[in-house]
């Protein structure tokens, strides 16, 4: 199969504006969807689904969220973990207040709470930029973490200080909670992530996405052309936090089952930020590459020695994973600032002219 555009003539602007104008890309996406919806459920075991695929998808969604804000709108944020926490706690409170409502609805609704909080903490972005904004979002991170610990109402005054899910059923199926099947949770997460990724790509190729990129590339020129920086930036914060909030709610309700405030600390913020950088700022496909890389790399480091009969401690694995990730980030920042997505693009470009590069 050759990767070629030759002979594929676009006869209308509508065709040219499609998400995947090249046929081979459409086929590629089709294959990925078949693997995700058919092959993995058929072939993979519960461990792979529950501990690799589900978290990978959830992180990918949070990465899409942060990438909208940082990669597309150019606003650096270190508050991702806290915004995910807002989604998780909002969902927890919503389900205690309205236990009857379908959990999927609640997960999506909690995104709006995160969006609201995101807008509030996005307000400083109107005056400050870059490093200083990062510090402001860092303040948001610590303040919200403090709230998750100190406002006991948020976790229903229980002694553990953690939030826990009970079983949520709908259509005669346990969707979330201790007795929910991994496969059920996987399908829910998969559908939500795909749908929201599609929506994000739609937003990004229209006038709103363009306004964000205008702000990112040159905010002064953007304003002279008619973009209102206030509205554009706050919208980016809202949409981004919505995505992070939904990811956070899914993290508790479809993956972990329970979470302490520490689950949403600064480490999570950095983890998502690394996924964005490694995958590629300003690339949706990159979000999935970055998330896969950073989530799966430690697992490989952990299992590889086992295959050779060597035991290594969990702590050591974590340290090695940290070091490798750190080294990779530095490598990417120096060699290819646009991340894995760009590297993939270069490979594609080479394929396009293969086997006669000149």
């Amino acid at each position: 199969m050759f990767y070629r555009e030759t002979g594929q003539f676009k006869t209308s602007y509508a065709e040219d504006m499609a998400l995947f104008p090249v046929i081979q890309d459409r086929i590629g996406i089709g294959v990925i969807l078949i693997v995700a919806f058919v092959a993995i459920p058929l072939l993979a075991n519960d461990f792979f689904i529950a501990s690799i695929m589900i978290p990978f998808l959830i992180f990918a969604l949070a990465t899409v969220g942060l990438n909208i804000l940082t990669g597309y709108c150019g606003q650096l944020s270190l508050g991702t973990g806290a915004f995910m926490g807002v989604g998780a706690y909002a969902c927890y409170k919503l389900t205690t207040i309205f236990p009857e409502v379908n959990i999927i609805v609640m997960v999506l609704l909690s995104g709006f709470f995160a969006a609201g909080i995101g807008v509030v903490f996005g307000l400083p972005s109107l005056r400050i930029k870059g490093f200083y904004l990062a510090v402001a979002t860092l303040a948001a991170q610590f303040f919200l973490e403090w709230c998750f610990i100190r406002i006991r109402w948020l976790y229903n005054y229980n002694d553990s200080g953690a939030i826990e899910t009970v079983d949520h059923t709908a259509f005669g199926l346990v969707l979330a909670g201790p007795s929910a099947e991994p496969l059920t949770r996987y399908f829910i997460v998969l559908v939500i992530v795909i749908a929201m990724t599609w929506v994000a790509s739609n937003l990004l190729r229209g006038r709103f996405g363009r306004q964000w990129m205008m702000i990112r590339d040159m905010d002064i020129a953007a304003e002279l052309i008619g973009v209102r920086p206030l509205q554009a930036k706050l919208l980016a914060f809202a949409v981004s936090s919505f995505y992070c909030g939904v990811a956070g709610a899914m993290m508790v309700f479809f993956w972990l089952g329970a979470a302490e405030p520490a689950a949403f600390n600064i480490n999570l913020s950095f983890q998502i930020l690394f996924m964005v950088i490694l995958g590629g700022l300003g690339s949706i496909a990159g979000c999935f590459m970055g998330a896969a890389f950073i989530w799966i790399l430690p697992l490989i480091i952990r299992t590889a020695p086992l295959l050779f009969g060597v035991e290594i401690s969990a702590a050591l694995v974590e340290h090695i994973a940290f070091m490798v990730t750190g080294a990779l980030i530095i490598f990417i920042l120096i060699v290819e600032p646009h991340g894995l997505a760009r590297i993939w693009q270069i490979i594609r470009q080479k394929l396009r002219v293969w086997p006669f590069p000149y």
């Binding site: 602007y13 509508a14 504006m17 929506v199 739609n202 937003l203 190729r205 229209g206 006038r207 709103f208 363009r210 306004q211 990129m213 205008m214 990112r216 590339d217 040159m218 002064i220 020129a221 953007a222 304003e223 002279l224 052309i225 008619g226 973009v227 209102r228 919208l235 300003g282």
Partner: protein
Amino acid sequence: MSVAEVLEKPAAEVPAAKPEKRKILLSVEHVSLSFGGVKAIQDISFDIEKGEIRAIIGPNGAGKTSMLNVINGFYHPQQGKITFEGKNRDKMRPYIAASQGIARTFQNVALFKGMTTLDNIMSGRTLKMRSSFFWHLFHAGAARSEELKNREFVEHIIDFLEIEHIRKTPVGRLAYGLQKRVELGRALAMEPELLLLDEPMAGMNLEEKEDMSRFILDVRQEFGTTIALIEHDMGVVMDLSDRVVVLDYGKKIADGVPEEVQKNQDVIDAYLGVPH
């Protein structure tokens, strides 16, 4: 180039004739602007008539760019009055100037480097697009039809400026001359009433300058746009402009048709005689 022909007409018409027929698009009255101790603009008055190409010239640091920044609301003058289309305007944000029909290009290209030529010019359509957020979530309905309609308009501009081949190239990778052309395209996409061009030909070779001159004349002819042009190349200024205002050290030292200005002794002293 048909520069000579174009020049004949206004040059013959200008001398004081038919004042009532001319419509003033923009007038600047007694405007002063200073940055701390630096007096960038001192008590300057001039006007721009509808449909003309108005050159603003002067040595480096004369205050030309500052003047454009005042006109499009980026700087707020400490004194003076600006009237655009008969309406007096006070302090205004740049996006309001944009919505009233003032577009500009920059001395040091200010394109959106990470975006393609197409997206850069599409960005000029920002104020023409109103479709709701809801439809954009699905890239459907009003969002889609609006994108298509504006895409068509933008493709006209791309054809007009002969930049079809770089449609999908991120502008950061383009040569300087092409970037200037894309920037003109972005400003044109705004369908401005008044187009402010800050040294559109700086750093270009002769051929590129000729192309750009042709585009500027064509823009006026095809779109009827009024143009204010800052330019250092006197040949270009003499060829293109209907009237010239000359600044020096923040003051206006001459104002009139190119032939007049060229003969003005102050101008020769300040500018023309002094190579720089």
